[in-house]
């Protein structure tokens, strides 16, 4: 699509100020993608509507459910509250980018093995979130339930209580929580 097609109607851009559209490059699942978007476009909409990556889901569109979770430069974020322009130059990993060819990511394997889903709508977000969780715990990052006396060094061991707290930003309408916790425990081993 030509950039000019997406320019905001005349008069809506404040005078003398930059335009209401932006062209940016994102590295998505390892490939550089350049796109021109209305500044209002969230990363989630850019992925789904501009790049045809519909794995990331729109649940609430307000940061409340985690269905849109992706990894931005390796960190989990809610792509529905991030403007795409803000992500210019960043690397994004979506659920489509986790597997190594036909080999599923260990977290994906564990979700399948433990039947950690029912309808599957929340699953891409749950999986991206869990992938980041494993890194965060290995890196020693605390959660609200990590004993504060614990020394700041060394990995945090992932008890079910830790997993539940660390996954609290991912809501599952089907209530598949027990198996999600099992799957993450398995992937953490």
């Amino acid at each position: 699509m030509e950039p000019v097609d997406r320019t905001a109607p005349a008069g809506e851009t404040p005078e003398g100020a930059p335009e209401a559209v932006s062209t940016l490059t994102l590295r998505v699942n390892g490939t550089a993608r350049t796109l021109t978007v209305d500044n209002r476009t969230t990363l989630l909409d850019a992925l789904r509507d501009h790049l045809d990556l519909t794995g990331s889901k729109k649940g609430c569109d307000h940061g409340q459910c985690g269905a849109c979770t992706v990894l931005l430069d390796g960190r989990r974020v809610n792509s529905c509250l991030l403007l795409a322009v803000v992500c210019a130059g960043a690397s994004v990993t979506t659920v489509e980018g986790l597997s190594d060819g036909d080999r599923l990511h260990p977290v994906q394997e564990a979700f399948v093995a433990r039947d950690a889903l029912q309808c599957g709508y929340c699953t891409p977000g749950q999986i991206c979130s869990a992938v980041a969780l494993l890194h965060e715990a290995a890196d020693g990052q605390p959660s609200y339930v990590t004993p504060p006396e614990r020394s700041p060094d060394g990995p945090v061991s992932l008890t079910p209580e830790e997993i539940r707290e660390r996954m609290s930003g991912n809501i599952c309408r089907c209530g598949a929580y027990p198996n999600i916790v099992d799957a993450i425990e398995e992937a953490a081993r």
């Binding site: 509250l81 020693g140 504060p148 539940r164």
Partner: protein, 332 residues
């Protein structure tokens, strides 16, 4: 959402100049509150000035033995920072009690302080609300207000400030650093947020066009312990119904330094001066903690549906103080 222009300056002065040149502009940090409010039609800035490119994300020790936390340092990074965990555990715990890991990875120190209330009428652009549309009324006072204020509210607004982080910062005597067209200034966190009075549209004392550059904490009192505890409707990922941040020293069974702040009860983090007065120099006993909490909460004026917050806050304060004191007595 209204269309808007977007710029990403690399220098702080440029960000401030850009703001001054465009009435209605907004700084954009993590976007987790501002983008949400733009989607809801509650905010509609013509220009977003992305401050994520500014050199404001450092967390570093100050010459005075305190800590400076940059405005764009992420909530998750601050919570996990070794100096924060060891010297300011109340701050680390408050950050970890807020939002979700995904949100904390985006949310910043400055944005967290300036997040708006979660009052349902404020977030619904089709409803009257004195905070959003001054003079239109406050439907929460007689309407849905279970989550709203019991202290310091006015006839014009009964909203609460939702930040957990700010409550810990208030108890830690932190200061907000501001920079605007007129220069720099510093405001204690406990005086940064306002009570609603007849200007509920103003959450804080920040002037339009001022940028938060960071927050500075003094060195913790020697031997002090701190903690943050939060009561909410579900185990995690919910705003506080009531919360408590406390910092305490105890020597020979008597309380020395005492700092206490409540969250979820007012339009601002509520530094509990009356309670601190009771605590200082008093024996570290449950009786003292109860007297302290009661001294502070005597001023509470609950609304029809939120009276439960008063005993909830009282019990939280008593239990946090008890736990801290039993861990800090230097004779023990």
């Amino acid at each position: 959402m209204k269309p808007f222009a977007y710029v990403r300056p690399e220098r702080t002065e440029e960000a401030i100049d850009r703001f001054a040149a465009q009435p209605g502009a907004r700084f954009l940090a993590g976007g987790t509150n501002l983008v949400d409010l733009m989607k809801l039609g509650v905010a509609g800035p013509p220009l977003l000035i992305d401050i994520n490119g500014l050199p404001l994300d450092a967390v570093e020790e100050t010459a005075a033995g305190g800590l400076h936390i940059g405005a764009t340092a992420r909530n998750s990074d601050v919570a996990a920072h070794p100096l924060v965990r060891v010297r300011y555990p109340a701050l680390s715990q408050a950050l970890l009690a807020g939002a979700s890991p995904q949100l904390r990875n985006a949310a910043t120190t400055g944005g967290n302080l300036l997040q708006r209330t979660r009052c349902p009428y404020f977030q619904d652009a089709s409803k009257p609300c004195n905070k959003r549309a001054p003079g239109s009324g406050c439907p929460a006072r007689e309407g849905v207000h279970r989550d709203l204020a019991v202290l310091g509210h006015s006839a014009h607004c009964v909203a609460t400030h939702p930040s957990d982080m700010a409550v810990a910062l208030a108890a830690l005597d932190a200061e907000v650093r501001l920079r605007g067209p007129a220069g720099e200034r510093t405001v204690p966190v406990a005086e940064f947020h306002r009570l609603p009075g007849d200007r509920p549209d103003r959450d804080t004392v920040i002037e339009d066009g001022e940028l938060i550059t960071g927050v500075t904490l003094p060195a913790p009192p020697s031997g002090a312990r701190g903690a943050y505890r939060k009561a909410r409707d579900r185990a995690s990922y919910a705003f506080a119904l009531a919360s408590v941040a406390a910092v305490l020293t105890v020597e020979d069974g008597r309380i020395g330094h005492a700092a206490l702040a409540f969250g979820g009860l007012a339009h601002k983090p509520w530094r509990a001066h009356a309670a601190e007065e009771v605590l200082r120099g008093a024996p570290a006993t449950a009786e003292t903690y109860r007297r302290a909490a009661d001294a502070e909460l005597a001023a509470a004026e609950p609304l029809r549906d939120n009276g439960f917050k008063v005993p909830l806050a009282r019990n939280l304060a008593v239990s946090v103080l008890h736990d801290l004191a039993s861990r800090t007595d230097t004779t023990g």
